[in-house]
Amino acid sequence: MSKPIDQYTWQELEVGIILPPGTAREYDTGDWRSQHPVWTKSRCIRCGVCWTVCPEGAIVEEPGGYFDKNHYCKGCGICVKECVTGCISMVPEEE
């Protein structure tokens, strides 16, 4: 989008609201969450279970081989529940 969505007038909108592909990337769904997961990296066995179960695809494999969150995590906590070694815990969001 060439400018923030709240600056568009009705006349400027494309007929049928047709947008370029992939614009959902611009929407930071992570700002909904009230808590986020934190990894204790020393206990991560790099099994990838958290990556598999994350409903948002928010967990990524990093060069070091462990997994971490990004800004699409909504804080559901499924990764914490499913982690084999219990190396993930939820931490409240701070202001």
């Binding site: 969505i5 009705w10 909108l13 494309e14 007929v15 049928g16 609201i17 947008l19 959902a24």
Partner: protein
Amino acid sequence: MAVKAHRVGMEVSIAVSHAVQLARAEAIAAYPITPQTHIVEHLSSLVANGDLEAEFVNVESEHSAMSACIGMSATGARTYTATSSQGLALMNEILFIASAMRLPVVMTVANRALSGPLSIWNDHGDIMAARDIGWIQIFVENGQEAFDHSIMAFKIAEHYKVLLPTIINLDGFILSHVVEAMEFLDQETVDSFLPAYHPRFSLDPKHPVTMGAFAMPEVYTEVKMSHQMALVNSYERIQKVWDEFGDLTGRRYKPVESYRTKGAKVLLLTMGCLSEVAEEAVDQMRDAGLAVGLLKLRLWRPFPFEALRAAVGGTELLVVIDRALSLGGAAGPVLAEVRSAFYPMASRPQIVGYVIGLGGRDIPPETFKEVVAQAQAEAQQGPTAEYHIFGVRG
């Protein structure tokens, strides 16, 4: 241009399917429901026999029919479907999406009462429950109009300044199932009138776009405003397409049509094929020396406010006929709209409303004569109710 036309006698439903064939519909998804069945059944045969080159998708419900239509229309295909009553109700949530995505699907609705109680017979309860779906909505009166508008609807809907899905309302059974004489156009004439559909955007893996995205509170109102303005502004294009068709065939259509209104003190206002019965009643009343005329509302959405006011002129009494109820509300849907049209006017007629012909109740010319007599009495004595359900026992 010399138009090649030929006169045929045919069931109106079959004529509609031939009009869709002549319009070269490319994609059809439909689920059969009485009294729409003959339309899609015949289209299915035309496709199966190779007489119409189109994709005919058999679906498991009307919800799926409209969903498939949206997908096919989004690929740029000329898309058609038809339904009725419970089927229209079942596709309800998808109807709003088709119009918001500005996909020019054309649909015939063979108007039928909604359950309950279960009724397969004609009234306008189905379409009035779908009044606010954001589609262009047109009513036809006879077989010829059903044929003509089935072709014109594609040209209106697909125009780049319109891009709105369009419904043609056709009274179930009492119009859909009658055999009438009609003038058919040949393929060459229809091709010259109706160009192929080439949307600016379509679903294409080589040129990906996002269609049907969600809207945050910051932009939802603007999206709705653009839809509203598109529907309001489609009025001009609708009339242009009807005029162009009139030049071609000599059959002219207007959003509000007048019948023997000259010098009329009372005007009836009707929609759909009951207008022909009302014409007969007006003729009889005129013969008896009563100054009664008839207005026929062809275009329901966008509502023709200015044209209606102009057609009513200085008439003293306007008698509005509804074929649907708004239970617990101010009036039938048509009466409510007409009253709104005249409320801001300094000079306006008295407006009295009657609901008739629910669930297939037969309407002979005598009904219109009695309605006019009752309305005149009410106009003199003052209103006794917000509106009246005519002929109800008890």
